[in-house]
Amino acid sequence: MTTAPTWDGLLTTALLGTDRRALPADPAGREAPAALLDAAAVAAVQRRAGLRPGRAGTRPEPAPADTRPTLPPAAAHRLTLLLADRPGGGGGRRGSTPDLTELLPQWLAVANAHGYAAPPQSVPALLDAARARTDLRPAALEFAGARALWLARLNPDWRFAQRSASGNASALPGTEDEEGVRRLWREGLFAERVALLTALRARTPADARELLAETWTQERAEDRLMFLDSLRAGLSADDEPFLEQALGDRSRNVRATAAELLSTLPCSALAARMAQRAATCVALDHTGSTAAIVVEAPAACDPEMERDGVTARPPAGRGERSWWLGQLVEAAPLETWPDRLGGRTPEQIVALPVTDDWQGELHAAWCRAAVRQRDARWARALLGSPSAPEAGGPGAVSLADRAKLLAALEADERAAWVAGFIAGHGLSEAFQLLGVCALPWTAPLGRAVVDALDIAREAGSYPWSFSGVMGLAERCLDPAETARLDSLLAVPDEREDASPGAGGYWAEAFQRLATTLRLRAAMVRELAPDGPA
């Protein structure tokens, strides 16, 4: 027997074909292709049977241990279900089944509040979910913990996780490390310096201001603007000298921001100057039978006003005098007005008639002032009664302004106002206002929404006109309210004036709402440390 040809020899012959490249004559008399295949079969099985393991590469550093408690089993199963339900697939009508992806944020918030560790095998799915939805990132990354950062280093798809974590305050030098702070401030990248200033401001506001003052004149204009903005947190009268000096800055944007910050300090010199200017423009008029406000807009914008942050040139389409007036009133402390207008309360002032169509301009400026100064009394007065007829119409205060004013109120009062608004005006305008209410909705607010939905159903329209509010209700309604929905779950008899089939769709929408609420209640129960196993 001749020596067996090598695998490489067999392969070359096979590639070219036995007609072109002959094998050594076969002693057994087989045809060339058969002999080649026989030899290759032996070689293939030999190769497979002789396989040996390779050498291992560099092993990854072990992930840091997660010392948080593990999830209760029922909650771990729920997480699997929530993560299995990815958005994108199965478009179209949702029917009466809940939208699980919308529940993941809530589940994560509760799990994080209990301080559970994520099951390691769920971390990839959590990272994928966080990659798809930016709003989920902070909660998902907190829950996924150190293992997520460890994993993100191995997969470029998850690089965002490392980025999100780099602004972490733990990487910054401590306050006691004065040398470290100064070095980072002098040599750090812009993002690092902003993070340092923000962190320092949160701990000792004065240190942050002094650090910034040291290098202030050498900073670029856009950097000065960003640094100045980080003084917004922890603002106090101590900051006034620094801000006064910034009013003389070369950059207009820096001057405007400094002026805005000063105007939120009611005792500042700037606030006093603005109060004086604004007061000369707004006065009480006793000539008529009832008291009224008379407005005399400023005739000019002098350099002192400009230095205090008033923009001289109005945007296109606005008169310059009313533009200046708006800026003066917005920046003046609201305490100015009761004294100026005969000792009246904010409610009484808002109720006063305003001569010559100045009411819109004046009230809008007060709204901005109330939002800027976070003044609950003025916000309340400007919002007025939620059920007043003009509150629903295109009144003096727009919906967007009202949403901002609501933010100046305490959570309960905010909810009560929105509840009153919905009871008076229905849901068509309420979406934006509901967005500023705290979670879960208070009982009166929840009831107002459910009642308004019921009224909308009675009116015979289709539920998808209210899908935005429905979606909010699924996420925000207190699960304790589920029982109140029971009477709405049945399909009512079709009325003649109703849209065809609307009753069935409403029942479906309410079923979905009730199911979602039950699911949320179950989720929270499962996450309780001594909850059902």
Binding site: A41, A44, A63, Q121, T515
Partner: protein
């Protein structure tokens, strides 16, 4: 059979779903909202009424008492099997929120179907006992005719392989897929589905990247070996003949003696083509130390009937299929309800894993992989290529992971579960590399499925 024995976890229920969209739809229905009148019986039946879009709720009932797997009945029009309502009902029951109370009173509509099923099961048992060999002479003739067709098919395939080698493999790249499709169709006509599927795989090799000529030559040579095995089967030992018959895809039946053991379910996964879903379930006998493969098939769109949740242990009989080196078996009588397995299977090293594959090739040279549990291995990335290895914690040897596994989400579940520390991994080890199927993290008995 008690309730606790058959109660499944949410993941195990979701494994029953025929496809991803059913899984999603089912998980949405696994809450109390749409359900009414739900209950479960002692014998492993679960029922409930599900509110759908119509006025009449759907009647859904599941029978879990059959050892062959759960059976479903629902009045909905869906052609999926199980439908989303059955999945939702099982999820609700798995959730154990008290929404599906144990009840003696089975509603009439459910009882009718359950009684009908049990009646049919009895009849089937007696029929099987009565014997199936109606006409042994006719059966022998049928088998003979089939053998002749397979012989004709194998001969033709040999001729085509010879032609290919005469012209050179380089021509295969130019010929494209059509040539192989046509040859595969001829093998289907020859009633040799095993040959047909191997031929179809040959067609994909020229497009599989660098090194394809070597892979194509190997596969052609092994196909040639199989043809020759069939054509010279009178010279082979009986066990090897049985192996050749199995590899050709000829019908065989599990005629081995039943082996009773505590069979731990190690992995379950489905592969699907246009016509058929194949479910593979790996089980490991705690006493016998054997690892066996159970197969179950479903037509397209239907989940295969047999479903065994990973992590359970079955006290049951298994019968082997014939053939040297064959590890397929069939599930016989179950002696007790399934219970969670208390431990993980014993593991080995990467060196021994490859040795066991080499040894298995002695009995079945066509074998692509063997089931192996690796103990104390760490997933390690290759620096640049994006591939991964499983490295022994105690030495510097490592097995590459198969290329197909690298594209699956299971890879990252495995890496995340390990966190750089050693774990136990069960999978298939062969000439293409190692395909992980299930993993156990250090210090836990709970398996994490990777497929």
């Amino acid at each position: 059979m008690t309730q606790q024995g058959v109660r499944r976890t949410a993941e195990q229920v979701l494994d029953l779903a025929p496809d991803a969209s059913s899984r999603k739809a089912g998980s949405k229905l696994g809450v109390a909202g749409p359900w009414s009148g739900a209950g479960s019986g002692r014998e492993g039946a679960v029922w409930g009424l599900c509110k759908g879009s119509g006025s009449k709720p759907y009647q859904t009932v599941v029978d879990l008492s059959d050892p062959a797997g759960p059976a479903y009945k629902c009045s909905c029009p869906s052609r999926k099997f199980p439908c989303k309502h059955a999945l939702g009902l099982l999820l609700l029951w798995a959730g154990d929120e008290g929404e599906v109370p144990e009840s003696e009173a089975v509603p009439d509509w459910a009882e009718q179907w359950l009684a009908g099923r049990r009646g049919r099961a009895e009849t089937r048992k007696t029929q099987t006992a009565a014997g199936s060999a109606a006409d042994p002479e006719a059966a022998r003739k049928r088998a003979e005719r089939r053998d002749q067709r397979v012989t004709a098919g194998a001969t033709e395939l040999e001729r085509r392989l010879a032609d290919l080698l005469r012209d050179g493999l380089a021509s295969a790249e130019r010929a494209g897929y059509g040539l192989w499709e046509e040859t595969a169709a001829r093998m289907v006509d020859a009633q040799a589905p095993g040959l047909a599927s191997r031929v179809r795989e040959l067609g994909a090799i020229p497009a599989s990247g660098t090194g394809w000529p070597a892979r194509l030559l190997e596969e052609c040579a092994l196909l040639h070996l199989l043809d020759q095995g069939w054509l010279h089967r009178d010279l082979l030992p009986d066990a090897l003949t049985a192996t050749v018959r199995t590899r050709l895809g000829l019908p065989t039946s599990a005629d081995g003696p039943p082996v009773r053991d505590h069979w731990q379910v190690l992995a379950q996964y489905d592969t699907a083509d246009a016509k058929l879903t194949t479910r593979r379930i790996w089980v490991h006998g705690a006493d016998s130390g054997r690892t066996r493969l159970l197969l179950s098939f479903g037509a397209a769109g239907r989940a295969p009937e047999l479903s065994l949740p990973v992590g359970l242990s079955l006290d049951a009989d298994l019968s082997d299929y014939p053939g040297a080196g064959q590890i397929r078996a069939t599930l016989g009588e179950r002696h007790a309800p399934a219970a969670p397995a208390a431990s993980r299977p014993p593991g080995t090293t990467t060196v021994r894993a490859l040795t066991s594959y080499g040894e298995a090739l002695r009995e079945d040279p066509w074998l692509d992989s063997v089931p192996v549990t690796l103990d104390a291995v760490i997933p390690v990335p290759e620096d640049t290529s994006g591939s991964w290895h499983l490295a022994d914690a105690e030495s510097d040897t490592a097995l590459p992971l198969t290329r197909s596994f690298l594209a699956r989400p299971g890879l990252w579940r495995l890496v995340a579960l390990a966190g750089g520390a050693p774990l136990t991994v069960f999978g298939e080890c062969g000439h293409r590399g190692f395909t992980p199927l299930t993993a156990w993290a250090e210090g836990t008995a709970a398996p994490v499925s990777l497929c």
